[in-house]
């Protein structure tokens, strides 16, 4: 077990380096840099040159990359070139805000998906299956920003149930009821964004289980469908769910960019979108790298969890 995990972790390291290199080179290839965003027409060329020097933008590519990478190892993501603030500090405030939104929404979506997915699988081809499939299709087809605007219009404006901007009313930070009122609409948006694909995934995993031999055996013993689903299939479906949990890890940082921007939620979303607009590339790079790292870690985590849940995989690792 430990050997398997160690092997996987070691495999992840070169991958992370490659990703960091790709992220850095892609941004480097862009036809402009942050200096273009901080210069104004009445700035003299000398001053522009001085700025370049100050930010190390006149160094060769590999020197810039090496400096950037060493700093990251020291936990220093650098400074935003536009606001001059420490990116790590800024993310430390914003990532928890994003997580406050993502975790409840994802868990709700997951519970909803497990329930609906199993119901659909149990009624394959029948009315409920078609209904759930219809809902899931609709959910996948609806763009998040559109659904968010619909919520804002009806719940926020027409019915005037919830405030539409931010995480707290000005001056009411820490007030839980106030937070909840601000939380509900983005939470609903994200739940609706997350659950349809999960539902489909769980439905198809459950159907795979139905086709397994043990189900045929159970049927032969006259077990009811309810018993089969409750005792066996629902447990076996948890294995692919564990995989999904691992894969959902990067969402903790970048899973709600659109929703957050629309609702003015002070998470990573608005930070990234405004950084993109102002070409604040250290910020873009930090978030891209973080998110890519979480993808790899998520994969790693889901494999490890998988091996915990299903010992056959662990054994496979030893051979």
């Amino acid at each position: 077990m430990a050997r398997y995990i160690a092997k996987r972790v070691l495999q992840a390291i070169p991958l992370l380096l490659v990703i960091s290199f790709i992220v850095f080179s892609l941004i480097h290839l862009a036809p402009y840099d942050v200096i273009d965003s901080v210069t104004t027409p009445n700035m003299s060329p000398d001053r522009v040159e001085a700025l370049r020097e100050k930010y190390g933008l006149n160094e060769p590519f590999f020197v810039q990359y090496a400096t950037w990478l060493t700093n990251i190892f020291k936990g220093d993501f650098g400074y935003s070139l536009v606001s001059q603030r420490s990116i790590a500090g800024e993310l430390a405030v914003r990532i928890p805000n994003t997580m406050k939104l993502i975790i409840p929404a994802y868990l709700t979506a997951l519970i909803l998906a497990i329930t609906l997915g199993l119901i659909a699988a149990a009624n394959k081809g029948k009315f409920f299956d078609k209904l759930i499939d219809g809902i899931a299709s609709l959910g996948i087809a609806i763009p998040t920003f559109w659904f968010a605007m619909i919520l804002i219009y009806f719940l926020g404006y027409r019915l005037n149930l919830f405030p539409i901007i931010g995480m707290n009313t000005v001056g009411k930070a820490g007030d839980f009821n106030d937070f909840l009122a601000h939380f509900i609409m983005p939470y609903l948006t994200l739940t609706v964004a997350f659950f349809p694909e999960l539902t489909r995934y769980i439905r198809s995993s459950a159907l795979q289980q139905v086709a397994e031999d043990y189900v045929t055996v159970q049927r032969a013993f006259h077990a009811t469908k309810w018993q089969i689903f409750r005792r066996h299939i629902s447990r076996n479906v948890l294995i692919p769910v564990v995989t999904q949990l691992g894969l959902a890890l990067p969402m903790l940082v970048t899973g709600a960019i659109i929703t957050e921007t629309i609702f003015g939620w002070p998470g990573v979303g608005p930070y990234l979108t405004s950084a993109t607009r102002s070409l604040d590339y250290p910020v873009i790079m930090a978030i891209m790298l973080l998110s890519a790292t979480l993808v790899i870690l998520g994969n790693l985590l889901s494999d490890v969890l998988y091996s915990v849940v299903d010992p056959r995989i662990r054994k496979g690792g030893k051979e």
Binding site: Y32, G134, G171, L180, P266
Partner: protein, 526 residues
């Protein structure tokens, strides 16, 4: 038929689910409805801004929201109004010397900082000395030629600015956009090149900063020492909302009291609760012609392009109503005191356009046009320009892209990637500032023009102290640049500020470029 029913049914269930989800949270909605209505309380004016200020340091800020915040907390010596006239703020009077080599400013006497300390000439000298340092990032206007302007304290309420050489533009440049900061607070600051100063801001503006939550809001409280009289609204909040759609709904709902909207949004706003105030920012939106690009080196070809265009049509399509734009003809915005309409206007004339092309021996002209595809007005105008030029037999390919990337490309020396491009500028009041765009060595000469005659005119006009003669020179300059056909000024599009009717005195508070409100203290709540 069956599929249709199924679809409808799922929509029904879906909606039901939503309603349930909404109800399930009903336990606290009553409370929250109350709390959200308290945001529109009688003592707070909430203004929606679209992003964090890039810099809140008054010495170097130059972005829209940074300047807006600065203008709330601090005051300059003199305010420049939209039409170019000036109004004294901290200055009692401004007296330029006759030889043009110095400017003496007398300061108002009973002005106090928000912490109660008296405001004196020391603060003014301190501020200007910091700003004139090149490393602090905003010094260009305080340098004439290659020398900095010098600042002398004459007595406690008089400051003399000594110029290294005569400059007509200096008076305007010295007084405006420099927000005076208190020496007694910032004396110990070593580095003014940062975007945020560590000290709590103390200013002479109408409000004091209470709290700044990045990405969320800035809150302010009335400054009882404000020299313009204590503001009638006690609290001011700048709420950061990135999404324009959300801003619109928040405005309709009353969660925010004021915000900028687009012409196409105005019809959606309820007139009973919201009033719109269009005002000019003295911006010029233009079509630029890259004179270095092979196809456009001949001035006749450039003129042929301009004669094929129809300005009216371009603006009607992009800005809908006449009240939301004005049409400039020279490179100066129509409100500029030096602007003239006595230039070649290039009224649409397809025949003339074809003739010019024939004279230039050009047939089957193919051009490309760069524009920012995220800007709705530019997108509409680009497609129209394509159609209009087609009538004169000129084929245009559209190259929509990221605005910043396009201008980074145009900024490269000798770039010929784009023939035509859409852009815009807000350069300020003194026409000398426009030299950056139109002089051969100008830092924003995207047109890549080398024209000794116009360079000469810029140089002469900058040092001409006689107002009438100076005007004459700029008239000549505007005509020359129009004849050169490197820029086709399309529009001076107005900003539209939508304000909830519960807020009064919006016009008295003065709508001016960049800062929105000249003096936010004049607003009232009905």
């Amino acid at each position: 038929m069956k599929k249709w029913k199924k679809g409808l049914f799922s929509v029904g269930i879906f909606a039901l689910g939503l309603a349930l989800a909404a109800c399930s949270s009903g336990g606290n909605t009553n409370e929250t409805a109350n709390s959200s209505s308290t945001t529109a309380d009688d003592a707070t004016f909430t203004y929606a801004i679209s992003g964090d200020p890039s810099s809140t340091n008054p010495i170097n800020t130059s972005d829209r929201w940074g300047l807006t915040v600065t203008n709330i907390i601090y005051s300059p010596l003199v305010i420049v109004e939209g039409d170019g006239t000036t109004k004294n703020a901290l200055a009692e009077s401004v007296e330029p010397a006759e030889d043009g080599l110095s400017v003496t400013v007398h300061l108002k006497k009973d002005v106090k900082w928000s912490d109660g300390e008296p405001f004196t000439a020391d603060d003014v000298v301190f501020t200007y000395e910091q700003k004139a340092k090149k490393e602090n990032g905003n010094a260009d206007q305080l340098w004439v030629g290659d020398q900095p302007i010098k600042f002398e304290k004459v007595d406690d309420y008089t400051v003399k600015f000594v110029l290294p050489q005569a400059s007509a533009a200096a008076v305007n440049n010295i007084a405006t956009e420099t927000f005076i900061i208190p020496k007694h607070i910032f004396e110990g600051v070593e580095d003014f090149s940062v975007n945020e100063l560590p000290e709590n801001p103390v200013g002479t503006g109408p409000y004091k900063l209470v709290e700044y939550k990045r990405g969320e809001y800035l809150t302010f409280e009335a400054n009882e020492h404000y020299f313009g009289g204590e503001p009638s609204i006690k609290n001011l909040t700048l709420r950061i909302i990135e999404s324009a759609d959300t801003t619109k709904v928040a405005l309709q709902k009353g969660e925010v009291d004021a915000a900028f909207v687009l012409p196409s949004d105005v019809a959606d706003l309820d007139e009973k609760t919201i009033t719109t105030y269009p005002y000019s920012e003295n911006r010029v939106g233009y079509l630029g012609l890259n004179t270095k690009s092979e196809a456009l080196q001949d001035v006749k070809v450039r003129q042929a392009v301009l004669f094929a265009l129809n300005k009216d049509e371009l603006n009607q399509a992009a800005y809908l109503e006449k009240e939301y734009y004005e049409q400039p003809y020279s490179f100066l915005p129509p409100n500029n005191p030096f602007a003239t309409e006595d230039v070649e206007k290039y009224d649409t004339n397809i025949e003339k356009s074809k003739e010019l092309l024939k004279e230039a021996n050009v047939s089957d002209l193919k051009l490309n046009l760069a524009f920012s595809s995220s800007d709705p007005a530019q997108t509409i105008q680009a497609t129209l320009i394509q159609q209009q030029l087609q009538k004169a037999g000129i084929t245009v390919t559209l190259e929509g892209g990221d605005g910043t990337a396009i201008f980074a490309e145009l900024d490269k020396d000798g770039s010929t990637k784009y023939n035509l491009f859409l852009g815009g500028y807000i350069m300020g009041n003194d026409p000398d500032l426009y030299g950056a765009l139109f002089e051969t060595e100008g830092s924003a000469n995207y047109f890549q023009t080398e024209n000794k005659a116009t360079d000469e005119l810029f140089n002469k006009a900058a040092v001409e102290l006689d107002e009438a003669k100076r005007k004459e020179l700029y008239n000549e300059l505007q005509q020359a640049i129009a004849d050169d056909a490197r820029i086709y000024p399309i529009v001076d599009n107005k900003k539209i500020l939508a304000v909830n009717n519960r807020i009064g005195n919006v016009e008295d508070a003065g709508l001016i470029p960049i800062y929105t409100f000249e003096d936010v203290s004049k607003l009232t709540i009905k």
